[in-house]
Homo-oligomer: 343 residues x 2
Amino acid sequence: MSIDNTVTLKEVARLAGVSTSTVSRYLSGTHPVSGDKQQAIELSIKRLNYRPNLVARGLAKGRTMTVGVLTQEIASTYFNEAMRGVELALASHDYETIFVNGHWNKTEEERRLLSLIGRRVDGVILLVADLDDEALDRHAQSVPMVLLGGQSASIHVHSMGFDHVAGARLAVQHLLEQGHRRIAFIRGPDGRQDAEDRLRGYREALQAAGIDYDERLVANGGYVEGGGVTAMNTLLDRGLPFTAVFAANDDSAYGAILALHRRGLKVPDDISLVGYDDLPHSSFTVPPLTSVRQPLADLSREAANAVVALIEGRKPPRTAPPRVELVVRESTRAVPARSAARR
Amino acid sequence: MSIDNTVTLKEVARLAGVSTSTVSRYLSGTHPVSGDKQQAIELSIKRLNYRPNLVARGLAKGRTMTVGVLTQEIASTYFNEAMRGVELALASHDYETIFVNGHWNKTEEERRLLSLIGRRVDGVILLVADLDDEALDRHAQSVPMVLLGGQSASIHVHSMGFDHVAGARLAVQHLLEQGHRRIAFIRGPDGRQDAEDRLRGYREALQAAGIDYDERLVANGGYVEGGGVTAMNTLLDRGLPFTAVFAANDDSAYGAILALHRRGLKVPDDISLVGYDDLPHSSFTVPPLTSVRQPLADLSREAANAVVALIEGRKPPRTAPPRVELVVRESTRAVPARSAARR
DNA sequence: CTGTTAGCGCGTTCAC
DNA sequence: GTGAACGCGCTAACAG
């Protein structure tokens, strides 16, 4: 059952009665080829059903015309938009895209990165790296590398960070404008930079409004739905009043909605809720979720252009800092007269 | 900025004072190498920070030790479980996995498949192919191929279909057992085999219960959330009474919940709802969604084992047909005394 | 325009 | 055990 369908350039050339170089030149279009030979070659290719061996080509050219994208959880809607954007932009530069999983695991991530490098991809795009700066810097010396959604100190990696602090501030300000003063926060995992940034934005917005930070109003949702449930319950159990909740990402916000529902509390009638990331599903929750949106489509396109620039030896243009925005839907409303969250 | 970090086997050999063959043998472990040379080689590799060129190795060996996985929408939670399962099982066989997108588009899908083949992956796993049998058959002659979630007539492709008919029957039977008789159906896209199968299961279950099929109780949700909203509205607008809805997939079920909510109808108090696929999120909807679950983890493991078998020239074991199951959560309940869906 | 000659980096005979 | 030589399939530099 092993397949041996290996038609090579040489066979195509022989059938067409020309040399391999001529076929090669015809294929790449780098040099003109006489009309009659073109026809012969074309015919020969068709008859043999020839497909160039990209591995051999890669070896010979030293370039593979593919860039590797390292994501954390490949099947997560979080990066949906980003992955599409990258793939599309890369295709317009004639680069192919292959995806690999990091699984939020340093070891695994480095292994996959090394694999991409060993595979001689021409460039690498990291979608939110878990690796430390030292490792990034080391590997960035082996391959053009851009980091999307992070900030590396290494001068070798072109990083395009998101402004999570500003985004979080936006969310909290919205709540503040609605008259909320007691705003709880469901934070993301410890140690993750973006999680810390979003916490900081929360605190800054509070402070700017003259509200003291109260850590009893903060619980960890770990960025996942189950964590959102737990965090919401924790918050409620602590018995402190609050009229609004800011969840550090949409997934934990979904969990929060469910937890609230189980307690007979309604969003937004009893509690206002804001998420972060604006996942596609957030338009369809009950009620549709107000969320902070990052312009991932734009950013990923820029990331793609940046790797291509790096690959071609140019320096990627410094991009304007992405402007996050708040998508207001139906999970927030002005603070009710009688506060409902005393539990 | 172009990188030239190319340490080759030859340089490692020279530094170690041995021949390239010896280094190669040491690396592959195919032949014994004397102790002192081992050390020298090891040291040399470390000092030079050598990484084998997988492209060259692939050319020389004729195998790349990687299998390509073609999914439709890489960033969809639908295949989350399947992708993880495949990746894991493949890794245990020392194969790497690379993912590419088909985007539910025949042309794009074929292009990516050809790319994988050109890249000389050792095998290919198709996660629900959109391609027709003829194309599948043609390409399966170029590379070992297994199709997960579909049924190909080609003898060259090892296909592992899902039993959507049985799954749909399960869902409807559950509703029937709860006393529902007027059961609406939000179907999937026209022409997709799995969508037709699920429709058939719906009809069969109805028929077995002696209930006439009424096409006015069926609307197309296109497998997407927005479609679920529309379909639910259509159903409601038609004015026919029904007490339960079976949505052909979870995404459209999510949309249905929202549409119901907008009309002031509650799940499951007014309308019972069953989904299909059991996406991770279905545990966290309001209310948590009863859904049909396919054992994707098991299936994907088997798919991985099957490609490996094909690659190694063995014939993959015939696997027992996967048993779908119903995960009962909180979106269904016994039919209420007063039917609420007269709108 | 086109054929010939060299590699790309590595694995694998084949002799020793 | 180990080195030399050859080849994987293709591109590129060199002469026509």
